[in-house]
């Protein structure tokens, strides 16, 4: 059983990857990948109060999601969304746990409402005025796979455009020592149920027990393995190279995603 849809827009931010357009030569293999630090833009769409309160995962989701939707020439306010991440706001989680372990357990209201796993989805809806459905998932290292499968199911079953945002950000110490994510990485995909004017590629996915594919480039492979959302990289490289390919992407221990990708 496979699900098929069309990719109409991509958003990307990561270490040394500053947007989808800027990253195309790197992913296409014509420019050498230089790892750097991820630069997160301020979310201009959010009201000033929310902009001050939001953490890295919100900035990352907003930036990548909007880049993908702009490319697809769609209105974010009407688009169902799927958010997937291995964790929420790591800095905020650490601050709450530290306070609760101290004598003063009176955490602040903002700290608390920023602790939910769906923090990016909440700020996204506020920023884009989208009242469409938002699905928020986690599957640890397989979070990108879980999100892609959910978004594909929405596109196919609900016959709708949908935006997928897969984002991960680091924890500070001491959680960093037990869950090391070296830097922020986010990818967004706009999926369409039918081929439209802005289609970049046709994608079909199914489930497989086969081992996942690696990136040929050593540095990109290191990135793919170190951040859950970066498990998307083999797919992004194929889209950038405008190459027809059969890929296997990481998902769960016993189940990976078999992906057919073909340029439009």
């Amino acid at each position: 059983m496979t699900l098929s849809a069309y990719i109409e827009g991509v958003g990307l931010l990561g270490p040394g990857l500053s947007g989808w357009a800027a990253s195309l030569p790197i992913l296409a293999g014509t420019q050498r990948y230089q790892p750097g630090r991820t630069v997160l833009p301020l979310p201009a769409l959010l009201p000033a109060a929310e902009r001050r309160r939001c953490g890295a995962i919100v900035k990352l989701s907003l930036a990548t999601g909007l880049e993908a939707i702009d490319a697809a020439r769609l209105d974010a306010a009407k688009l169902p969304s799927v958010f997937t991440s291995s964790g929420g706001d790591g800095e905020n989680c650490h601050a709450i746990c530290e306070m609760l372990a101290s004598g003063d357990r009176q955490i602040s209201p903002t700290r608390f409402h920023n602790s939910v796993h769906n923090i990016a989805a909440g700020y996204w809806a506020i920023a884009t005025a989208s009242m469409a459905t938002a699905s928020v998932l986690c599957a640890y290292d397989g979070s990108f796979g879980a999100g892609l499968l959910e978004a594909m199911a929405q596109a196919v079953v609900d016959r709708t455009h949908v935006v997928l945002m897969a984002c991960d950000t680091p924890y500070p110490d001491p959680i960093d020592s037990v869950r090391h994510i070296p830097d922020a990485f986010g990818v967004a995909l706009v999926l369409a149920p039918q081929r439209g004017d802005h289609a970049l590629a046709r994608i079909s996915i199914g489930l497989t027990g086969t081992q996942s594919d690696r990136n040929d480039d050593e540095a990109l492979e290191a990135l793919r393995r170190s951040v859950p959302a970066a498990r998307a990289l083999p797919l992004l490289c194929c889209i950038a190279q405008r190459r027809q390919a059969n890929l296997v992407l990481d998902y769960l221990e016993h189940t990976n995603l078999a992906v057919d990708i073909a340029p439009c």
Binding site: F112, H113, H117, A134, Y140, G209
Partner: protein, 399 residues
């Protein structure tokens, strides 16, 4: 849409371990709320705590998953022959054809809270027996359930705060319709922790007494914990008329504020409207509404207004959170199970603790149990970040 079949379900909360005790508590109007005695918390609050969670032992092969949330999950899975049902489904469909979608808001964060109290005084390091991936991480509970049963199909944790375990029905339904799976184990598990107790307290949303949804004097929620599960399958041709079906669901976002609902209840209304649309039903065909009904002043006001606008003042409704407390990420699945019990037992459960319904909220809030045939019910779940979902369940005889 074609209805989906809840072929089996079970729930464990402060009012009962398993379906039998849960139904008995509903019939007797018995609440599970008590003054807060949990992990040294010094708040004037009532909580819905499940007894003996600490006594549950995980299988040794899954020892690294040991935390209150997964113990509560295992306690619930051990009731009502639910585990046997999962094994039978594996026999029937194959482990790779069963999806797994579990809602939680805080997962095993209590384990991290405890670990932070035992950090190395010199290095600040967490204790060596703390296992982040299998306890704190949001995926922990789905990972635990998947490994416990040996499931090999699609799996994810859904985590959209207090709507999480109602949203699992949406994800599972899409996968079933897409043909990726033949059955789905869905559910929700959330357990007590200091993050939510002190967090809701910081927002001024915790009542110092047992919560009183829709009461004119309501002044906040009571936090509870629960684990509730259901098997969701395609509807077979010949079903017992007492079987429970998922007839429709509707989802929306508030796009308003992280922790306050849309003041006009627009998101709530959109969710209920699209659930009715998917089920191809009119508001008058709904026999009972299980309210989100957290008992905070603004949440109940907004939900009441949305229901009044869509259903008028005649549809019987209640919030069972007066009995169970607000089980947060487990509330959606718990209340879906309670709705299933209502359908199968001709019971409209009363809202407990409330005495005088807010005269501003012109809805038919049930202050005592009502016994009558129940064909179709709607259950609301609204979460922080403004994620809303309404489920419509019905008896097979009503389709």
């Amino acid at each position: 849409m074609n209805p989906l079949w809840l072929s089996h379900f079970t729930s464990t909360s402060s009012i009962g371990r398993g379906i039998g005790p849960t139904l008995a508590a509903l019939q007797e109007g018995r609440a599970g709320l008590a003054p807060c005695e949990f992990d040294g918390v010094d708040l004037a609050a009532f909580i819905g705590k499940v007894a003996d969670v600490d006594e549950v032992a995980l299988p040794s092969r899954l020892a690294e998953h040991d935390c209150r949330n997964n113990r509560l999950a295992l306690m619930a899975l051990s009731q009502d022959d639910f585990s046997e049902t999962v094994h039978a489904a594996i026999e029937n469909y194959g482990a790779h054809r069963i999806g797994l979608f579990i809602g939680t808001s805080t997962s095993g964060i209590l384990q991290t809270e405890l670990a932070y109290r035992r950090r190395d005084p010199v290095t600040g390091a967490l204790p060596a027996d703390f296992h982040y991936a299998t306890t704190q991480n949001t995926y922990s509970v789905a990972d635990f359930v998947q490994k416990y049963f040996g499931l090999k199909g699609p799996a994810a944790t859904v985590s959209s705060a207090c709507s999480s375990s109602a949203k699992v029905f949406a994800s599972a339904g899409r996968m079933l319709r897409a043909g990726l799976i033949d059955a789905a184990l869905v559910g929700g598990v959330d357990s007590l922790c200091q993050t939510t107790l002190y967090g809701f307290n910081s927002l001024g949303l915790v009542s110092e007494q047992a919560c009183r949804p829709f009461d004119v004097e309501r002044n906040g929620l009571s936090i509870g914990e629960a684990a509730a599960f259901a098997m969701l399958e395609h509807t077979p041709d010949n079903l017992d008329e007492n079987s429970v079906l998922l007839l429709g669901l509707g989802e929306s976002s508030d796009a308003y504020h992280m922790s306050s609902p849309h003041p006009d209840g627009l998101g709530a209304r959109m969710a209920m409207e699209s659930a009715l649309e998917m089920a191809e039903l009119k508001p008058g065909q709904i026999d009972y509404i299980n309210l989100h009904g957290t008992a905070t002043p603004s949440n109940d006001a907004v939900e009441g207004a949305a229901i009044q606008a869509l259903f008028g003042s005649a549809t019987p409704c209640s919030s069972t959170k007066g009995a169970t407390g607000h089980a947060l990420g487990a509330a959606g699945a718990l209340e879906a199970d309670i709705c299933a019990l209502a359908l199968q037992n001709d019971l409209l459960p009363a809202g407990l603790n409330s005495r005088r319904i807010d005269p501003q909220l012109d809805i038919a809030y049930l202050l005592s149990n009502r016994h009558q045939p129940v064909a179709r019910v709607l259950s609301n779940s609204f979460g922080f970040g403004g994620t809303n979902i309404s489920l419509i369940l019905g008896r097979a005889s009503a389709v």
